[in-house]
Amino acid sequence: MTQITPAPRPEDLRELIASQMHLEGPLLPILHAIQESYGHVPQSAVPLIADALNIGKAEVHGVISFYHDFRDAPAGRHVVKICRAEACQAVGGTAVAEHALQRLGVEWHGTTANGAVTIEPVYCLGLCACAPAAMVDGRVVGRVDAARMDELLSEAGA
């Protein structure tokens, strides 16, 4: 099952862009607002943002691609991020990550076939004292082992 979401309408995108234009340096707030509304920053938004801010389309692309958290396609219903930084690796983070990937049958940044879970690597959640760490839909989880990961993934519907 793939999620069917209607393509964002240009007028809606323009409205979202306009809502942030009063800010100083509005590009990042605009990208956040769009991602919040649509779960990703659609390509069709790039020329509109470039036009509104009077900058090059390439510049907008440069900023979007700099930040891993801006998506170019919608994620699954739940996003699970697993820390792959040094502290987590030192206490078994790699094994947890491999377990999760194997169970879901996807690669990093992949989404399960039923559209339930997107899995992503992250480099440090600031939870080194409780490593290995993960994050589910913005909520951090500490001391994750294979069993806890299974639990989290099941809850998410994978």
């Binding site: 390509q43 790039v46 020329p47 470039a50 009077n54 900058i55 090059g56 389309k57 390439a58 510049e59 907008v60 692309h61 440069g62 691609s65 700099f66 170019d72």
Partner: protein, 958 residues
């Protein structure tokens, strides 16, 4: 690479030059004085010491990313990057300590660990800064084991996800990401030098890559305008000219001048023997300062295009096929016919058209041909159809027929008015320089019916865009004057000192009349009154105000009036006679300024002196040993009228395609068809040649010596880099024709022609080839008073004495819209094509513009049932043609726009024969038209194509 012509200092100084008070420092024991704000790297370069570098180059600001240029500075901690560290008084810098050597070697080792080692087969071999720096830092070995990289197509059997294949979408250069060291020089060149912002760095960290446009774009589909600044900035072969990939690195270079637009960019033609490898804009070129556009840098392939005609051809009548003959036979045939026509129809039955694309020397000879050999003044040039109103208007008000500034002046301007010009397309290098100034805060007012890229594009936006109705320039300019006068914004001190006060009073009275108020003319011009008032206030009070204008001003029935109005605006605001201000026509062709200076007009001898003046005639009569006809000759439209009447029979037309470029194509064709001897001297069988009896092959700017004069009156040297493929430079051909008619000229080099020009023309009195060689270029007037030329005109007083205000009454054009022709057509050009396209259509530039399209507003399109890309019929009272529609809101409702680059569209079959009241400059910019859906070519297009095919036949050699 050696420069065998002139030993220019072409070193890369690392960072741009600065101006400021002098600072003294010591670099490696050498004391050096540089302006405040200069980088340590540049100071070292001034002292003759090259600090290793990769991400720095002197065309863009320092970035500090490669860390190769680190130095040690006494009293400072660490190893600062010399490119981003400004000098300080008394600084002691060491560029070569063991510490920095070690750092550099380590940095270089890291760079090379992610770079393919295929130097021997790389296109940049021998011209690669990465290679040079590896040598300079003494890199002897790379200790890193192969790992993740960007250059292997497959690593350990699997496809390498980081490898990106070469982007070959641009016709002139390739982007090869595997060679990229992500120094960002290309991205910065695109932003700082060109101002297009088409490139970025995508991703972060090890994933960082140079990217054109947004996701999914390649170079061709991105905003890239192919100026090549990125290619020039690239230190490796990542961005590389395809010509270098094919031919290899050049071994010598010759400094010459571009033969496209009136900016007059200096280039280094980089050669292998007589094979041109690439054109690189010359850093010391004072017009372009090391920048160029797609035409000058890349579009030179026409010089060797297979359609170029290399042998002379003749025919008795135009329905016959061409017959290739020897030069002697062709010249003899032409001379005999011309003499015969003069005997039969009189001395004044023949004439010449000089070229704005040929050199000053060649133009001088062509007008000399008609004045000294034909014995009449029947000479005209394509300036007739472009900037003749500039000559008249500025001559009347200021006293000279040329722009007042040099291009450097734009760096000091605060408010710019652009009126009737589209510099990003027509004068791209000037546009880049202007955009740079705008990004630094200068304000811009655009007066144009169309929303050009100057109105709004990345990082620039006009403060005011006055989108007037075509044909109402005079009303708008006078309304601006109205606001300035009635709101007390005029610079009275300047006017009292520099201008005729009584004339100003008269003009002020005229302008303050309520009928010229913005509110009164709003309905006529379509410009909101409040916007116009704000624009006037901004120009009058915003600091240094400069006006740049183009053919949107001149090509109207009131072209001369608008030029006068512009001059009035500049004078009443005190914006004349210093840096950063002035009135500047953007001249269309490379040497249109020069062709006017050289006496191409029927009433003026070289130097804009009227032919009726006996003292002027005497100068030339003495020099040439002939009598000069005191009667002015025929202008181009008069020649054509006279031909139709049967009194004008023979024409020598050098390097101009009047059939395509002049208005009302049908009338031009009828005129040409009525002549008995049309001699076309050109590179290609152009449209005019369809009606010619003699075709003399021309030479390109690469094949001749001479000079071009650009829009800033700058006389630039054109240097021969290869022998003419056709056998002769154009001045030699003119000389052969003149001699066949009994002239006895014996020039052996264009420098002798320039000596004759200098001897007879006061504003060129001090010009010699030696002086141009020595100075690089010189701006006329160059004479005893100004031995090194004149970058700024009218500094202490106007050339004519007091600046003259002339009343500018608005008289609407007779070309009016009505029920049958409700839309207004205005014409212009596009970046990738040049004029009638004879050159650029024969290059890969056609990938950007392979046909002329009609821009139409969505509202007008909808009411006519026209969809984007549809074939439409464009009809006026003069004629009709068909082309494809492009729906865009760049044009206002009621206005349509097209270009005139393609002969199969022939926008000029639609334009009318209305023209400027003073100079006959045709009204290309206003034609009442109707647009309707169509199935295909109009009858006229089909007939024309058939006639052209018939006329272009060349008889097979027997």
């Amino acid at each position: 690479m050696k420069d065998f012509i002139i030993p220019w200092d072409d070193r890369d100084m690392g960072t741009p030059a600065k101006t400021g008070k002098p600072v003294t420092l010591t670099v490696d024991g050498v004391e050096v004085v540089v302006p405040e704000g200069t980088s340590v790297m540049r100071a070292a370069a001034e002292a003759g010491i090259s600090v290793p570098k990769l991400c720095a180059t002197d065309s863009v600001e320092a970035f500090g990313s490669c860390r190769l240029c680190v130095v040690e500075i006494e009293g400072r901690r660490g190893t600062p990057a010399s490119c981003t560290t400004p000098v300080a008084p008394g600084m002691v810098v060491h560029t070569q300590s063991s510490k920095v050597r070690k750092i550099r070697k380590g940095v270089m080792e890291l760079y090379i660990s992610d770079h393919p080692l295929d130097c021997l087969t790389c296109a940049a071999n021998g011209d690669c800064e990465l290679q040079d720096m590896a040598g300079a830092v003494g890199l002897r070995d790379v200790r890193y084991a192969p790992g993740e990289n960007h250059f292997e197509v497959r690593s350990s059997g699997e496809a390498n996800a980081r490898y990106i294949p070469k982007d070959e979408s641009n016709p002139y250069f390739t982007y090869d990401p595997q060679k990229c060291i992500v120094c960002s020089r290309c991205v910065r060149a695109c932003e700082e030098v060109q101002g297009t912002f088409a490139l970025t760095i995508e991703g972060r960290g090890f994933d960082s890559r140079v990217k054109a446009g947004m996701a999914g774009d390649d170079f061709l589909s991105s905003d890239c305008v192919s100026c090549g600044a990125c290619v020039q900035a690239c230190p490796t072969s990542t961005l590389q000219e395809k010509s270098v990939i094919e031919l290899g690195t050049p071994e010598r270079s010759v400094v010459t001048t571009c033969a496209y637009c009136g900016v007059g960019c200096s280039f280094k033609a980089e050669m292998q023997g007589d094979q041109l490898v690439r054109m690189v804009p010359h850093k010391q070129g004072k017009a372009n300062r090391g920048h160029s556009c797609v035409k000058g840098r890349f579009a030179w392939g026409y010089a060797t295009h297979k359609e170029r005609i290399l042998n002379p051809m003749i025919r008795d009548s135009i329905d016959q096929p061409w017959q290739e003959v020897s030069w002697d036979e062709a010249i003899g045939f032409a001379a005999e016919r011309m003499r015969g026509l003069q005997e039969k129809y009189g001395r004044r039955s023949v004439g010449v058209i000089t070229s704005s694309r040929c050199t000053n020397e060649e133009t001088f000879l062509v007008q000399k041909l008609t004045r000294a050999v034909f014995g009449n003044n029947n000479t005209d040039t394509c300036a007739r159809v472009c900037h003749s109103p500039t000559g008249y208007g500025l001559g009347q008000t200021f006293g000279t027929s040329a722009g007042t500034q040099d291009f450097d002046s734009v760096e000091h301007t605060d408010v710019v008015i652009i009126i009737g010009a589209n510099p990003t397309d027509g004068h791209p290098v000037f546009a880049s320089r202007l955009k740079k100034r705008l990004r630094k805060g200068a304000k811009l007012i655009v007066i144009d019916p169309r929303r050009t890229d100057m109105v709004k594009s990345a990082h620039i936006q006009a403060a005011h865009h006055l989108a007037l109705r075509p044909g109402t320039n005079v009303a708008v300019v006078t309304a601006l004057a109205h606001v300035i006068v009635t709101e007390g914004l005029a610079d009275e001190a300047f006017i009292r000192e520099r201008c005729d006060w009584d004339e100003f009073r008269e003009y002020a009275e005229f302008a303050s009349d309520p009928r010229h108020a913005p509110e009164a003319v709003e309905a006529l011009t379509g410009v909101p009154a409040e916007e116009l008032r704000k624009a006037a206030r901004l120009f009058a009070t915003g600091g240094n105000g400069a006006i740049y204008y183009g053919l949107g001003v001149t090509e109207h029935s009131q072209g001369s009036t608008t030029v006068i109005g512009i001059a009035n605006l500049a004078m009443m605001t005190g914006n004349i006679g210093r840096t950063g201000v002035g009135v500047n026509p953007l001249r269309g062709q490379n040497n249109v300024q020069g062709s006017c200076d050289m006496g191409s007009f029927p009433h003026e001898l070289p130097g804009y002196r009227h032919v009726k003046l006996p003292e002027v005639r005497a100068i030339f009569e003495n020099a040439w040993g002939v009598q000069i006809d005191p009667e002015p000759g025929l202008r181009i439209p008069n020649m054509l009228d006279a031909a139709v009447e049967g009194t004008f029979k023979g024409l020598y037309c050098q390097g101009e395609d009047i059939l395509q470029s002049d208005p009302d194509t049908k009338h031009v064709a009828a005129g040409l068809a009525a002549m008995e001897c049309v001699i076309v001297h050109d590179l290609f069988l152009n449209e005019t040649a369809n009606y010619a009896h003699v075709f003399l092959p021309g030479s390109t700017f690469l094949e001749k010596n001479g000079t071009f004069t650009n829009a800033e009156r700058r006389i630039n040297m054109v240097r021969k880099v290869m022998a003419p493929l056709n056998g002769y430079e154009d001045w030699q051909v003119t000389q052969m024709l003149a001699n066949a008619m009994g002239a006895g000229w014996d020039y052996t080099h264009p420098r002798q022609i320039m000596a004759e020009i200098a001897a007879t023309t006061p504003s060129f009195a001090g010009v010699t080839y030696e002086k141009i060689d020595e100075m690089g270029s010189v701006q006329w007037p160059c004479n005893e008073a100004n031995p090194d030329g004149t970058p700024l005109m009218h500094v202490d007083g106007f050339v004519r004495g007091k600046g003259r205000f002339i009343v500018t009454e608005y008289v609407p054009t007779l070309e009016k819209t009505g029920p049958r022709f409700p839309l207004l057509l205005t014409t212009g050009r596009i970046l990738s094509q040049y004029n009638v396209g004879a050159q650029t259509r024969r290059t890969d530039n056609v990938v950007w513009h392979d046909q002329d399209v009609l821009e139409i507003h969505p509202h007008d399109a909808e009411t006519r049932g026209v969809k984007d890309g549809d074939f439409v019929k464009l009809a006026s009272r003069s004629g009709e043609t068909t082309l494809r529609a492009q729906i865009t809101d760049r044009v206002s409702p009621g206005v349509v726009y097209t270009t005139f680059h393609h002969p199969d569209t022939q926008a000029n079959v639609v334009t009318t024969d209305f023209s400027d009241w003073a100079t006959n400059c045709p009204e290309y910019k206003v034609t009442a038209v109707q647009v309707s859906p169509s199935n295909g070519p109009s009858d006229w297009q089909e007939d024309y194509a058939a006639q052209a095919a018939q006329s272009r036949r060349i008889q097979a050699a027997e």
